[in-house]
Symmetry: C2
Subunit: 462 residues, 2 copies
């Protein structure tokens, strides 16, 4: 008899007896009867509960059922006479579990800025906008697992704490069991990390890719979906110190196969969310960014354009657009260039491949021209780079050369090199930041509003 409000809104029939539990969003006392909007987080919309004036304890219930109060209502569903809803609940009993004093409860009916809502991160999920964000976030996550599991990929949990600092993907957080007041020293007054918990320096991971490669060499197809970290002091609307990343890795796969998978992946996620969260997506389209549904449709229905970096440079040079940053073979593409390609030129997602070796990581496979590597980025309208991937260097000698060229020591990566010593195969993978994906999907302007408890410089509240 207990029903989730989303099920009632979608499938409830007049005369059905139901029990609902949730929180009051608003109430209106029209004296002859009253409306209480109850939300249980299962849907954007609330269920309208109707109290007739002859309802026992009409006055006392209405007094308690303020915005934010928790209630349990039993009654019968009836077709709604009012606008905006198909069905409503004629109350037979209302139990108020917990009140919310209107004098102090911060979430009154008026609209609040996202900045303000961040200061009440423990309550903000009770708003329409953040509620919609986290339902869509859950749908995205479910779609990720569904996509990979259907294709026989194993979800692998790569380590959060790592002693590898060699990927060079950004600044690292140190993890330590030391009391920082009293850090052990060696005779030469260096920090004596041999006495630390893990017997050496340890960090929070910036990527699970190298370990995912280990697993792909045993299971063929794997993916990670877990938290990663950057200690960069970037106080922007697109950076988090802690974020979730998805990194599939495929053995016996080249750059083309990698692109095919990434394109199918993005299409799947967008399609799944449009189908399972239509009300939330409609809300974002109306209230946050009126292009999000069009952007999603664009991704779902268009074959992604595929061009090389060299072609991209030529196209950018030929364009009449004014760019802030220079366009020149050998320089990385800036966000403005990426958006020009995806938004202005092709008006759909573009996969740019084969970037100059100098601007890409050591593990990316060197092309025969020795000037470029088998890397690929997917650039999407409105957001720029959404996916970055590559075919990995599977040749032991080339990989050792590339590691040395970057000033690293191959001995530190002995186990990674072993993958090329024993049964090496062409393999490839990509990564994407989960919060960027949710931001993209919802049109939310600040990445801190698409993760429940954002971590950023000077901020790790709740």
């Amino acid at each position: 008899m207990h029903k989730r409000i989303i099920d009632i809104l979608r499938h409830g029939q007049p005369d059905e007896s139901v029990l609902i539990q949730g929180w009051v969003r608003t109430k209106r006392d029209l004296k002859r009867f009253a409306f209480i909007e109850v939300n249980d987080g299962s849907a954007l919309a609330s269920l309208q509960v109707v109290l007739n004036a002859d309802f026992p304890e009409y006055e006392s219930v209405l007094k308690q059922a303020n915005t934010g109060a928790s209630v349990e209502v039993t009654g019968k569903l009836v077709a709604s006479q009012g606008k905006g809803q198909r069905i409503e609940l004629q109350a037979q009993s209302v139990k108020v579990y917990g009140e919310a004093d209107p004098e102090v409860y911060p979430l009154q009916k008026k609209r609040h800025s996202f900045e303000f809502l961040r200061t009440i991160g423990h309550l903000r999920s009770r708003t329409n906008s953040l509620g919609a964000v986290f339902r869509v976030r859950n749908a995205c996550a479910t779609a990720v697992h569904q996509f990979f599991q259907e294709r026989g990929f194993l979800w692998v949990h790569t380590p959060i704490i790592t002693r590898n600092d060699c990927e060079g993907a950004g600044e690292l957080f140190t993890v330590t069991g030391f009391d920082l007041k009293d850090v052990p020293r060696t005779e030469t007054q260096d920090v004596d990390f041999s006495q630390d918990f893990f017997g050496g320096k340890a960090y929070l991971t910036v990527s699970g890719q190298l370990e995912a490669e280990v697993m792909a060499m045993a299971f063929s197809n794997v993916y990670t979906f877990g938290p990663t970290f950057r200690a960069e002091n970037s106080n922007t609307s697109r950076h988090l110190a802690e974020f979730w990343m998805i990194e599939p890795e495929m053995a016996f796969c080249d750059l083309q196969g990698n692109m095919d998978l990434a394109e199918a992946f993005l299409k799947h996620i967008f399609k799944y969310v449009l189908e399972t969260c239509p009300e939330d997506m409609e809300f974002f389209n109306q209230r946050i960014d009126n292009s999000v549904i069009a952007t999603a449709e664009n991704i779902i229905h268009n074959q992604f354009e595929r061009i090389t970096y060299t072609e991209a440079i030529t196209l950018l040079e030929k364009s009449n657009a004014q760019f802030e940053y220079p366009v020149k073979w050998g320089l990385d593409l800036q966000s403005e260039h990426e958006r020009y390609l995806a938004e202005q030129l092709f008006k759909k997602p573009v996969i740019v491949s084969d970037y100059p070796v100098e601007i890409k990581a050591f593990y990316m496979r060197l092309n025969d021209d020795e000037k470029t590597v088998a890397a690929m980025d997917i650039l999407a309208p409105k957001i720029g780079e959404i996916v970055g991937g590559s075919q990995r260097e599977e040749r032991l000698d080339v990989l050792e050369r590339r590691i040395k060229a970057q000033g690293m020591n191959p001995a530190d990566l002995w186990w990674y090199l072993d993958l090329r010593r024993y049964g090496t195969v062409p393999h490839a993978g990509f990564g994407l930041g989960f919060e960027r994906l949710v931001q993209f999907m919802t049109g939310m302007g600040n990445i801190r509003d698409v993760i429940p408890f954002p971590r950023s410089p000077l901020s790790a509240e709740f």
Copy 2:
């Protein structure tokens, strides 16, 4: 035309043309023909590839296709004449991608100890046993998501880095952006954490429960599934410094509802794994622990016994068993007591509830007797405690009292208390360690062998 080996083994038909890619497990040269066993990680079993003596490059292929080498084989499926397999692959072409020198490749055919395999964590997933473990681990994880998503729970990502140190669930790892060589000091020579990345002391989380409660107060039903940490110096076969935890949290739920969900949850996971990984589970039953299938069936088919802690103490006192640790009302149950109840007395899982307030956490709901709290642990045969949960204290005044009684400062938990100020509801949840579950499922003796890259004191390799 490319097929996963598991699909061929299960559904392949004679005369089908296929292409497979994987790694050689063994080869046997019988001169008139040769067998190469190829494994791609999709299944425990390998596919037998047959090379006839008239195969072009018979000699050179056999020379290269040593254990560990990576190969691509095309050919036709044929019904197998030999024992042990239904179908095999008559090779038309074999491509060796990467060899594995038998003089140095560590994974030759003989059996290796799990201790040794831990030293080659980057290769051990290529063995039968670890391969089976990680397939079962993936199936468990998939079953977790499936169970909760089907019931409308949202997967919520609670923070990894946290400034809450107040749950007291064990020793904490510090996360810092400081260079440990040169930690900033205040005038009084204390560590000046205000200068650290997050503007204060930060730790790795020990539990996402408090934040999950935040989310349950907006979405009714949520669950976490993410990494958690303990800096305890426990070098045992049941402890990890980094492990994954699952923590559902339900609004409008009491202790009974919590037990019902936990029981349904465990049954679902075991059923799912038995159904989707029958070969792997059969392998564990034969090679690792001959009770794992019986234990799984026991969990699936029995209604869990439910007793109170007080009843449990009486039963233990009445028993004739010899216990190392004392049995007395007020003392926590030890592993030997838990196993006695589940294995000897009831011979099935037992849910023990209503523990003494002194031995349980501050957030557990105080019962009317004021001596016990609405906690529950599920004890399972062979492993002891597998799930721990409670109804949470939803009454503001009682919660404040409990916090103070534990010597903590309510002000530090202002946001957690706010959940009781605004629309508080009865709510409950439980937690279980994912690796313990996988260990339980597979019978693996050491928890380090059920996570790809274990972290423990003095060890964070790979």
